[in-house]
């Protein structure tokens, strides 16, 4: 999240000692419900996930230590993890630039319209739609003999069965996820554009800057904090993709649309190997941490905080 979002804590050194002590006691009371839940349902499970990944841990039955075997097994021949990892990385690498360019473009376009609010809500609707439903909708559109087939034939193209084809299935799923999620970033950017200071835009106008140069040299740099936020969130979500490929292709054909999360799900809840499933979960976690950290460190090179 952007640094500017974290407001600095209120109050300087605590002078009034008895008051401070009583506030500390109250704080404990106010904090207990949430801290208990957070410990039980987030912190403890995270630690347990690390432990689980080093054991042979069937859903029912004997648990035994496995060392690093769960990790090394992932790269044995026949394991679906490498394909899932490559798909997830390819998917993320395609989604992020596509999503950002399209949603930025849409946000700037919407900003010029008199019906800004209407378009924001319209583009946001797919975001709040259950992804199982949107997956079904797009499966219908992709179906041979369906709407997209017809549109392609109108311009003289013969459309292959995109979801059933090794080389196009991942792309077809990516399109659906882009369509599904675009409105979220469009809304974030649209709001950031609204908050651009008038003085700066007026100054650009007085200096004779045209539409495009104002857009690229003035507006875009000013909303980089929003771009930073959106990139981080989009990336984390892209690494976790599951619902759409699960419903549309079940990871197929072959492993063409298998993702890391689907691999975790299969290993844990189809084959009942919780230890073997925890290893890819930890790798995914590490990947997300590293990428977020790199992204965070890169801020100072491209994000403008006034």
């Amino acid at each position: 999240m952007p640094r500017s979002a974290v407001k600095t804590a209120r109050g300087g050194p605590v002078i009034n000692r008895p008051r401070a002590r009583s506030e500390a006691r109250s704080a404990l009371g106010f904090l207990t419900p949430s801290a208990t839940g957070l410990t039980l349902f987030v912190v403890f499970p995270t630690l347990l996930a690390i432990v689980t990944s080093f054991f042979i841990w069937p859903t029912f039955g004997e648990i035994s230590p496995a060392g690093f075997a769960n990790y090394t097994d992932l790269f044995r021949a026949g394991n679906t993890f490498p394909a899932a990892l490559v798909n997830t990385i390819v998917f993320t690498a395609v989604t992020i630039p596509a999503n950002l360019v399209l949603s930025l473009g849409m946000a700037f376009w919407i900003a010029t319209s008199r019906f800004k609010q209407f378009y924001r809500v319209l583009f946001f609707l797919p975001v709040v739609t259950p992804s199982v439903a949107t997956s079904i909708i797009w499966k219908m559109l992709y179906q041979p003999g369906g709407l997209l087939d017809y549109v392609a034939s109108m311009v003289g193209l013969k459309m292959p069965n995109l979801l059933a084809n090794q080389s196009t299935a991942l792309l077809a799923v990516t399109v659906v996820i882009l369509w599904n999620g675009l409105g979220y970033n469009t809304l974030i950017f649209s709001a950031a554009i609204d908050q651009l200071p008038d003085e700066v835009l007026d100054a650009a106008k007085i200096d004779g800057a045209g539409f495009w140069s104002t857009l690229l040299r003035v507006k875009l740099p000013l909303i980089t904090p929003a771009v930073f936020f959106a990139t981080t969130v989009t990336m984390i979500q892209a690494f976790q993709i599951f619902n759409q490929p699960y419903v549309m292709t079940a990871g197929g054909p072959g492993t063409a649309t298998m993702t890391v999360v689907m691999d975790i799900y299969h290993k844990a809840f189809q084959f009942g190997e919780l230890g073997a499933a925890s290893a890819p979960a930890m790798i995914l976690f590490g990947l997300i941490l590293i990428v977020t950290l790199v992204q965070w460190l890169s801020q100072k090179f491209w994000v403008n905080y006034e």
């Binding site: 999240m1 419900p33 995270t46 319209s113 609010q117 199982v132 179906q143 929003a226 619902n243 997300i288």
Partner: protein, 272 residues
Amino acid sequence: MLAVGVRESLLLVVAVLYIAPIAYTVTSSLKPNGEIFTQPPSLVGSEVRWANYADVFAYAPFLRYILNGFLISLGATIVVLATSALAAYAFGILRWRGRDATLLGYLATMMIPQEVLVIPMFLLLQRFGWINTWQALILPWAFGAFGTFLLRQFFMSLPYQLVEASRRDGCSNWGTFTRVILPLARPSLAVLGVWTFITHWNSFLWPLIAVNDIEGLGNVSLGLQTFFGEHGAAWNLVLAASVISIAPTMLIVILLQRHLVKGIATVGLAGR
């Protein structure tokens, strides 16, 4: 003038195309079964078959799925609002040693993705004997630090004199919290509440894992998925069921658009 007109019309065309998949689904959900994949495709079928919707409710307990999803989302929303508001008061209003370090710890937990937690969560609930229970669907994801952080940011934007005045009037912290802070925080509580409700309503991966008895505890996503699998061929019914599952959240967003758009714009909601 013409340029503006052209720009607006083009934008309208793009918007119509963007929303076309949903619109086409709605009209197709009213077609007779044989007409979903006709060439050339038609927007409206030979008859408007409202009976598709009655058939959906006859084939699968969609009312039950809706009720289940509603109760689960409502339960989770109450837990999130209550615990987050309390914690936000401790972080945003009260002064105590170690506060900022504790907050940082809270924020760090936001980095942990749900996928890392599903397996240990499953083990935990298996141990509690909670698999296939309401609490398994309501509690596990109701303790993210996100809500606390969002409300804390809002509480900090309130003038601190309010708190001081309330104390001078003899209010305890509990009194200040319930009578001064919470009433003022209503808009941000609404945003957090609606967003929590929607994410739980749409949840899929966790119900898929934690629910065996789909009719008793399944939400619309889960119901839709089984419906799609079992009745695979009856596309018109599947589409009608999809429309049924889409309608509630869309309605919420359209009705509450102003609050929601403003809230998401100010914080950017990283929901689960």
